[in-house]
Amino acid sequence: MNLEAIREKIGYQPFLLGVFALLASGALAWASSATGDAIAAAEAKDLRDSLSEVLPQGMADNDFLKDTVDLEKGGKTVTIYRARKDGEVKAALFKVAERGYAGDIQVLMAVDSEGRTLGVRVLKHVETPGLGDKIEIKKDAWIKSFDGKSLGDPAPEKWGVKKDGGIYDQFAGATITPRAVVKAVKGGLEFYADHRQEIIGGQS
């Protein structure tokens, strides 16, 4: 029987679909295993790069990627990287996440021992290109407006975007995104204030 005749048989259709599903799964499994390590390595490099970016130069003389402490935050484990100078904890770096317009926005922040933000960067987000993506340092300097802020400065009710009576700019066409970032940073500072002793005191 030639291919033309076989193609019309009812049994051929599920068989064909099955074969393609199998091939697709195989290709995906292969690609996933082939790229897994490289993706993990690239993301680790990203983490190191961004950690060094939020931390002002000369703040640390240790390898803060290795000096970590894990704490609970809302049922999730948060890894805190500690930057030390002469053995003393100078700053804590950690990730916080908040739901934005289209999905979770991952924010990395560095807080000094007094509870003041040293730097904030957005690590990962799926906000609208051209509108919400101004939270990236590459597109806009907005994220720097958190530098030097703490829970008392500005006052708690001022921790919001201007539309909500706060001090932070929102973007034209995107309010939800910066609102989420402000909330994330504020949450991070509160988290730091609650766990300051564990972060600074606990020697590893």
Partner: protein, 223 residues
């Protein structure tokens, strides 16, 4: 045969342009054309996927029966995009950080399935590859053009952040109109629809004029 390829290329770039004539792929068109750079990035990524998917579909066109071709093509394209997504994340990580947002959007681009259905399933591998390339470049051109107009009217820049996408040597493309606040409407979805509408009308008028001119030239010759 060369004449045939010429017409395939002309079809893709102009006569049967994905955006301006087929009106396909409106979702990514509206979503990413907020700047010329975004449009260019999305266009190039789509072109790559379109070429490969056209080649694959053309290769299996005799094996796949017409009853189940659609699910097979969907599985094929989705797999392809996912593999491209992972490979870029692993080995072209810097480019991925810029284009990553767009890669997943390619799956929902009906132009890919449209070309598989309309062309690749009926034509040979080489012709399909040429068609994919021409359609993809036509799409890239359309997206970049719409993106540039919206970007210029909306924020007063041209090719902002192009160096993120193409490398620092392309920084010269970036232009900014000083002292222009920008008309936000153009960046928002209504601006996209408005610009697309004007461009569609413009293309139609241009083609009509061309036809009239051809007709006018033909007439005295006939008389």
């Amino acid at each position: 045969m060369s004449d045939n390829y010429g017409s395939i290329i002309k079809e893709g770039l102009w006569d049967n342009n994905v955006v301006f004539s087929q009106l396909l792929a409106m979702c990514p068109t509206m979503a990413v054309t907020t700047s010329g750079t975004n449009g260019l990035g999305m266009g190039l990524a789509t072109t790559a996927v379109l070429v490969v998917s056209n080649i694959l579909v053309s290769m299996i066109r005799h094996t796949v029966s017409s009853q189940v071709r659609i699910p097979v093509f969907v599985v094929l394209i989705a797999t392809l995009v996912t593999v491209v997504d992972m490979a870029m994340n692993a080995w072209l990580h810097d480019l991925y950080k810029v284009l990553g947002l767009f890669i997943a959007l390619i799956v929902v681009n009906c132009a890919i399935l449209g070309r598989a259905e309309a062309f690749a399933v009926k034509n040979g591998v080489v012709a399909s590859a040429v068609d994919g390339l021409a359609m993809g470049l036509g799409f890239t051109g359309a997206l970049t053009f719409i993106g540039l107009i919206r970007e210029f009217l909306g924020s007063g820049t041209l090719f902002a952040q192009a160096s993120n996408l193409l490398g620092p040597s392309f920084a010269f493309l970036e232009m900014k109109l000083p002292g222009y606040g920008g008309a936000l409407l153009m960046i928002l979805p209504p601006g996209g629809f408005a610009i697309l509408g004007f461009l569609l009308a413009g293309k139609r008028v241009m083609e009509q004029r061309l036809e009239e001119r051809v007709a006018a030239q033909a007439e005295p010759a006939a008389a």
